[in-house]
Structure formats: C-alpha cells, structure tokens
C-alpha cells in the first residue's frame, strides 16, 4: 500500500483553501476570481466579486496598503500582480451592482462615523435588510477617506462612487451632527435597536515642548481636513512637518500643493525605521520634500509667530524590549527655520463625550468577539477600538460589527461564525512548475509627472486602460481557481492526466482521480478534455459561457458574428468584422463544441475563433488542442451544411502584436 499518494484536500475542503493573496487580505476578497474576470475583460463581473467582500473597491483600488500583493505567488517568480490597481480597474470600467437588499427587516441601527468601518457596517446591515442611519460629524460622508487622504491619491469622485452605492441600499444619512455633543448617545440607544460607534481616531497627539501652543503649529488632521475642504491656507514659505509615517508624507505633499516654498520633514526614526511606505517617501522626496531622519522636536522658536523648530539628535527609538522610548543626544542640535509647523505624530480616540467605559487610551472597552461595549445594544468597531490600522483592517472590523449586530438582533450568529472559519493557505509554486512558467513584468500604470502633479490636486495615478488591466490580470496564476472534480461524474478516463503539462491531476489506486492545487494554474486544458464534464474551472462553466454568449448577442450591433477572442492578443479585434460581438476568453480551449453550437441556436449567424499570437500565448500547451477543437467544430458543422459559418482568424501581424 506504500504507493498510495498522500491524500489531498477533499473537494469540499478546497473551498477553504485560499490563495495567499486572498488569505492575506483581512476581508478575504476572492482575488483570483476577480482577476480572472478582469483578464477576460469582464469588469462588471470582477467588480461584483470584489464587492461581495469589500464595499469600497474604488477606495481600496487606490489607497489600500495591499497585503495581498505581498502574498502573490508570483513574488518568487518575478513580481506580484498589481492586485489593487486591478481592483480599481474593475471599479473604473465595470458597472456597480444594482442595490438589491435581501428583503426588509424591522430592526433599526444607528452608526456613528462614516469612515471605512462605518460605511462597511452600513453596507452589510442595509444589504441584510435592516434600516440603517449613518451619523457623520463632518459635512460629507467618508471620514478619514475624505478628510484625511489627499485628493491626489483618492479623489472625491472615486470615493463618492463607493459611497453612492452604499447609500443606494437605503441607508439614511445625517451629516453635520456629532453624537455626544448634538445628540445624546442614550437617546440614540433608545430610538435604535443597536448603535455602532465607528468614529475612528479624531484626536491628534501633540508634543510637550515650548511654543507648541503657537497658532502656526497645526495638527496633521486639522491641516489635511482644511485642505480637503478646499481651503487655501497661508502657510508662509517654510513648512516643517514632524512625523515619519504615511500621514506625514501626505502632509508634506499637501503643503507643497498649498504653495509652501520649502518643506522639511523631520522624524525620530532613522531612514530604515521610518514607518511610511517606501514609495510614499520616494514620491514625497520627488515632489520636493526634504526628509531629515533621527531628529526629535525640542522647542518651537517664536514669539507671536513661529520662526523655527529646534531639534535634537535622536540616538535610538526603542528600548531593549522594543517599546517606544526615544533617547536623545542633547549636545547635537539643529534648527529648522519654519513659518508653519505641522505635527503628524499620531492620532487618538476622541469619544470621551459619549459616556461609555473607556480604556486608559480613551478607546471604548468592547468584547473582542461581539464588539459590544459596556452598554447593552451599543457596539464599537474600527480604529476607535483597535488604534490606527490599515483601511482594509477597518473594513474587516466593519464586517465583524455588522455580523455581531445582526447576530444579536436576529439571534443568528452564522455570519459571525463564518468570519472566524479557518483557512488553509495554498503553498508556494512547486519547483517543477516554476521552471515552466514564463516571467512577465508588471504593466506600469501611467502617472502624471511629479512636476505637473504638484501644480494641482488632480489624481496622480491614471489607472489602467481596459486593455492594460486585462494584460496585467493575465499575469495571475489563477491559484485555487483551477480544476475542481465532481467525483461522481468522473469516468477515470485519465484524459486530464494526459493533457496537463504541470502534473496537477493524479490517480489513486482504485482509479480515483485527484488534483494537486499547488501545481494547477487554471489553464482549463483538463476541463476541456474531460468527457464526463466532471472538471470545472472557476468562471467558465458551460452555463456561464452560454450566458456570456447570450449577453453578447443581446448587445445592439448589426452583425451576427460571435467572435470568441483569446484575450492574449490585442489586435485580434481589428482583424475581425468591426461589428462582431466579442466574447473574450483566457484561452480558446474554454470554448467547447456545444458552446459554439449553442451560439448558433441563440441567433448567431457566424462564429469566429480569433487565435492568440503564439508569442504572447499564456498556455502554449493548449495550442495543439485548440487546433484539434477547431477541426472538430469544422467537421461537425460541415456535416450539417454549415461549414462556412465558422471562421478561424489567425494571429495578428508582428507589427501590431504587443511587445
């Protein structure tokens, strides 16, 4: 019995085997699923997949810190797929789903704060049919997304698209009202069945140094909010920013756009220790900010107006137990001349006026599982509870809060339990497979050059075009979206083993087939060769293909040709009839005989296969099988007198082929 291969995950278990990108995303977006849709130009489908787990695709497509990309299995091959940028492409080029709440429920929920946590919880609860009222202190919804992130990184219209969809679910919004000041939390708790505090971190930390009270010393939040509100600030010529995180970089770049002549960023950390993302530091430097590391603020110099910031050398930041305990060498001083000083050294919770029990740091005390505060029916989530996190973490907390509130109000805890289900993460690419994979560099997104960018608040990253997005998404290895076997349909014919070049299918003693998910990269060759229709590939089942053909035929064009186009060749469209209705596929092998025949029955007068360029072919092993498929289709159609109705369009010329 020693020759029995180790048992792989059963088909049911495979639903919880996540690709590393999906596993690392705190909300577990089905990344390979939406990338495969983008790869085929199906942006609306892609957006729908994203929005099943993330109601802020336009936001996260731009400013997410992208933990997913660190897990991409391409990291060991060349560089990760541009997952976040492709999420943006889905939001840019796809249509947002129509609001379809799951019925209506009587429960009423108030949510305080409309940042990522509040918006997510509002989305989820409204989707579940509850009546949600969103309270926001500021004039517009969005919280830090609107007032903390500058427009050149996240424009208002991008944010408004996400918010618009959430509000369209029937969420009532009340802006310009601060709960605790304008409204009493207890009254709210009596009116609503549940209240969620998702107020974020609205307090700014300060430094206890001389002169910190002067009017030209501002906090980052105040500065960013006023800038985001369109205020033109008189900063003077010289601005000093204190802080080494991403907010400090945003402040520096915003100050440049507020016409500061010089911007110095000083931080305690050494260059390597700076918490800001590397690319944020680079971009700020490129735009003209001067970053000075290992300096600590000592005193603000000035009487009525600030004229400088005195700093001392910071020799270390953390003690031996990695606690924040900066040490200074007060003999080494440096003066930075300044007309304005902006402190970007952290935020804190500011919910003291709500009257709930708080930790020593001022955050509401909550049950870690249900997020309930010390008060019945009052919950808290997001940064106000956890301290500063990434946007995607705040979104995850919003999901948890919604699931917990739904559980408590409806006595159905399944959503909350689902959040805590364990996952298995797909392992690295097996060596034999990585040798077979072609390296392909990431497609660079067009950006506005820095010298133009600093002149206004326009968005710097221009986003992928539809074609660029599809090409970039085609770099995805399709981890976990590959072969799924319906054992009861399998005839053990071994065709899958014979056509797979990666050794993904195998057979146990007794003739039972299995698939090694680590070796499979979802080319679909096995599914196309399976006579029992026992193998499926995510996103291209026979039913889905029929639906796509019918959708394409419903679009208003005069011509009756359905063209199945390999997405790996750009100019294929140009060699076809311009009126042909296009169905783009990752590989023509995904179009089987019955899909072609059904296209005729659905009203197509002609069907064309537009082949890929062998130079850009993603699945070269499939070429022979595609040719065999084409012969088989021609033979079948010829037998019924329709041989002329099928056309094969060859690969494009070299001149037009993308390099």
């Amino acid at each position: 019995m020693s020759n029995i291969p180790p048992h792989k995950a059963s088909e049911a278990d495979k639903d919880r085997v996540f690709a590393p990108c999906r596993a690392r995303c705190p909300v577990h977006i089905d990344v390979p699923g939406y990338l495969s849709a983008v790869a085929e130009g199906r942006f609306t489908d892609a957006l729908e997949i994203v929005m099943q787990r993330n109601p802020l695709p336009s936001v996260c497509g731009r400013v997410c810190l992208r933990p997913c990309e660190e897990g991409c299995r391409r990291c060991n091959l060349d560089e990760p797929v541009a997952i976040a940028a492709l999420k943006r492409a889905a939001a840019d080029h796809g249509a947002y789903p129509l609001p379809r709440p799951m019925g209506t429920r009587p429960e009423r929920v108030a949510i305080i704060g409309s940042g990522p946590t509040g918006l997510t919880a509002a989305h989820d609860l409204a989707q579940l049919g509850m009546k949600v009222t969103l309270f926001e202190e500021k004039p517009k919804l969005g919280g830090m997304l609107r007032y903390g992130i500058p427009n050149y990184r996240l424009p208002d219209d991008a944010l408004d698209r996400d918010i618009g969809h959430i509000v369209s679910l029937g969420v009532e919004t009340i802006t310009g009202v601060r709960v605790g000041r304008d409204l009493n939390l207890d009254e709210l708790a009596q009116t609503f069945d549940a209240v969620l505090i998702a107020a974020g971190l609205q307090g700014s930390r300060s430094v206890p140094i001389d002169g910190a009270h002067l009017p030209q010393v501002m906090t980052a939040l105040d500065f960013l909010e006023r800038s985001a509100s369109g205020e033109k600030l008189d900063l003077g010529e010289r601005v000093v920013v204190v802080g080494g995180g991403n907010v400090a970089m945003d402040v520096a770049r915003t100050a440049i756009r507020q016409h500061a002549q010089s911007v110095d960023v000083i931080c305690l950390e050494s260059r390597d220790e700076m918490p800001a993302s590397e690319h944020e530091i680079e971009d700020a430097t490129l735009e003209g900010a001067n970053v000075h590391c290992s300096w600590g603020p000592h005193a603000v110099i000035g009487d009525e107006n600030v004229c400088a910031l005195d700093t001392v050398r910071c020799t270390s930041i953390f003690d031996s137990e990695k606690r924040f305990a900066p040490e200074f060498d007060e003999s080494e001083l440096r003066r930075f001349e300044a007309d304005t000083i902006i402190l970007a050294i952290g935020q804190s919770a500011d919910v003291g006026d709500l009257g709930i029990n708080l930790t020593h740091r001022g955050s509401p005390i909550v049950d870690p599982v249900t997020l309930r505060t010390s008060h019945e029916g009052i919950y808290a989530a997001g940064d106000v509870v956890t301290g500063p996190t990434r946007i995607i973490d705040a979104i995850a907390h919003g999901h948890r809060a919604a699931a917990a509130i739904f559980g408590a109000l409806v006595d159905d805890w399944s959503l909350l339990r689902e959040l805590d289900l364990e996952n298995t993460v797909l392992g690295e690419i097996p060596p034999h497979m990585s040798e077979m994979l072609e390296t392909r560099r990431r497609i660079q997104m067009e950006t506005v050059p820095f010298y133009e960018a600093i002149k206004n608040w326009g968005e710097i990253e221009e986003g992928y075009t539809e074609y660029e997005a599809a090409r970039e998404a085609q770099r995805c290895l399709g981890c976990t979206t590959g072969a799924r076997l319906a054992q009861e349909k399998c005839a053990s014919c071994l065709s899958c083993m014979r056509v797979c070049p990666h050794g993904a299918p195998g057979v146990h003693v007794g003739g039972y087939m299995y698939f090694d998910m680590e070796a499979c990269h979802a080319c679909g060759t096995c599914a196309s060769a399976c006579p029992g229709s026992a193998i499926s590939i995510e996103g291209c089942s026979p039913d889905e293909m029929v639906l796509r053909v019918q959708r394409a035929l419903a679009s208003p064009t005069i011509d009756q040709t359905i063209a199945f186009v390999c997405g790996h060749t750009r100019n294929a469209l140009e060699t076809l009839d311009p009126n042909a209705r296009i169905v783009t596929v990752s590989c023509l092998l995904r179009v089987d005989e019955s899909t072609v025949l059904q296209a005729f029955r659905s009203g197509a007068g002609r069907v064309a296969f537009s082949e890929c360029d062998t130079g850009t072919c993603r699945f070269p092993h499939a070429l022979k099988l595609v040719a065999q498929r084409e012969r088989s289709i021609v033979s079948a159609l010829t037998q019924i007198g329709m041989g002329d109705s099928f056309r094969i369009v060859g690969p494009a010329s070299d001149e037009e082929a993308p390099s």
Binding site: A491, A529, C530, S594, L597, F600, Q628, Q639
Partner: protein
C-alpha cells in the same frame, strides 16, 4: 476497453428525425473513456442534432441521460424514458443491444463500435483484440496478428511488407513487430514455428457465456 466513434450526423438524423422526443443516453464507461459517449459528447450531440434538425425542418426535442454502464440491466433500470418515443444510445454495440432489449421503444446507435483497444495518449487508441475466442498472444509477445495484421494471418509476415510497413501503407507490419519483440526478449527461436490454423468456429459459436449453466463452468 471498447473503442467507439460517433456516426456521421446525417446517418443519425435519418434514424431519429422521424421522432418527436428523443432521449440521448450516454455511457460513462468505455464510450466516455473513448471520448464519444460521456456527458460532454451527449451535450454536443444534442446541440448538433437540434441545429441539424431545425435546418431540415424537423421538429425533434432532445434530452440527455447518462448511465454508468449501458451493458448492465441494473443500471438501465434507473433510466426513466417515459414520454420519449425513441432512444439514441451513445454506448457501444453491447450498450445499444442491452438498452434495446430492455425497452419498448426504438433504440438507435449514435456510435460505431470499432475495436477492443488501448490508449496511446490523449484521444488516440490502438486496436489490440478482436475477441476471437482463441488467444495466441503468448506466442506473439502480446501483439495480436488477428487484429493488427491486415490479413489476420497467423504465420507472417506476408510478401507485402516493405521496410516494416504493411502493404496497405497505414500501419506497421504486425509480424515485423512480433519479430522485433521476440528478439528483444531473447525468444527469436520461437519465430517461424508454424501456428496451427485457428478454430474460427469458437467465436462464431460463442454467442453466450453463462457460468451458471451446467457444463459452461470449465
């Protein structure tokens, strides 16, 4: 394994075109494995027949079913063909026959049964056995002259062989292959020993094999 191949569509349509509701029945054993009778081929054939029928002005409705093995009555029992006026079998000859024997409606073959063969890779099969009833593979190192030799001769090769290829030009000479394999196994001395004529009446008489009958259990 029994290797099968789909008939030309015209031939199939001539059989089923006169009916109004036809059930296509696939077979998930040999016919599926030889890529002609599984679910996928049933689906494709339904599309093809529907298209062909509508072009010829026939009004035929087709539906599908899959049996694990059409040559087993117990599997056939599960087939519900009520409301259909004909069955189109995507099984081998044995499947068609078993279905037909167990049914009160006409059963037609969609496939031709070619041979008992072995897989040569994806979508490729080699004829290996003609079910003659008197096996000589022991003498020929596993290469069946009855099946693989165009003439089926037991003491070859004949004079038509040229450079190891049969005079038909479509296959290697089975007897050259037998020679090569005997040589590689160190049995070249066995080559040339005359084999007696085969008793062809065995396969002709062997229309049934029933071990439960007395006298048939040897």
């Amino acid at each position: 394994m029994i290797v099968v191949r789909r008939k030309p569509i015209d031939e199939i349509l001539k059989m089923v075109g006169r009916h109004t509701r036809v059930m296509l029945v696939g077979c998930n054993t040999c016919a599926a494995v030889s890529l002609a009778g599984g679910q996928k081929e049933v689906d494709t054939l339904i599309e093809l027949l529907s298209l062909a029928a509508s072009r010829k002005g026939f009004s035929v409705e087709f539906s599908d079913a899959i049996l694990e093995r059409q040559c087993e009555p117990e599997f056939i029992e599960k087939l519900d063909s009520q409301g259909y006026d004909a069955i189109l079998s995507l099984g081998c000859g044995a499947g068609v026959a078993t279905l037909a024997g167990d049914n009160d409606k006409p059963v037609y073959p969609a496939l031709d049964t070619l041979f008992i063969g072995s897989a040569q890779g994806f979508a490729s099969w080699q004829a290996e056995c003609s079910a003659c009833g008197s096996c000589v593979l022991g003498e020929t190192c596993g290469i069946c002259p009855t099946t693989r030799c165009a003439k089926g001769i037991l003491n070859g090769p004949c004079g038509g062989v040229k450079d190891g290829t049969c005079e038909l030009g479509d296959r290697p000479c089975a007897w050259v292959e037998i020679y090569d394999r005997l040589e590689s196994l160190g049995r070249i001395d066995d080559f040339g020993k005359t084999m007696p004529a085969k008793d062809n009446s065995i396969s002709a008489r062997c229309c049934e094999w029933d071990m439960t009958k007395e006298g048939d259990d040897s």
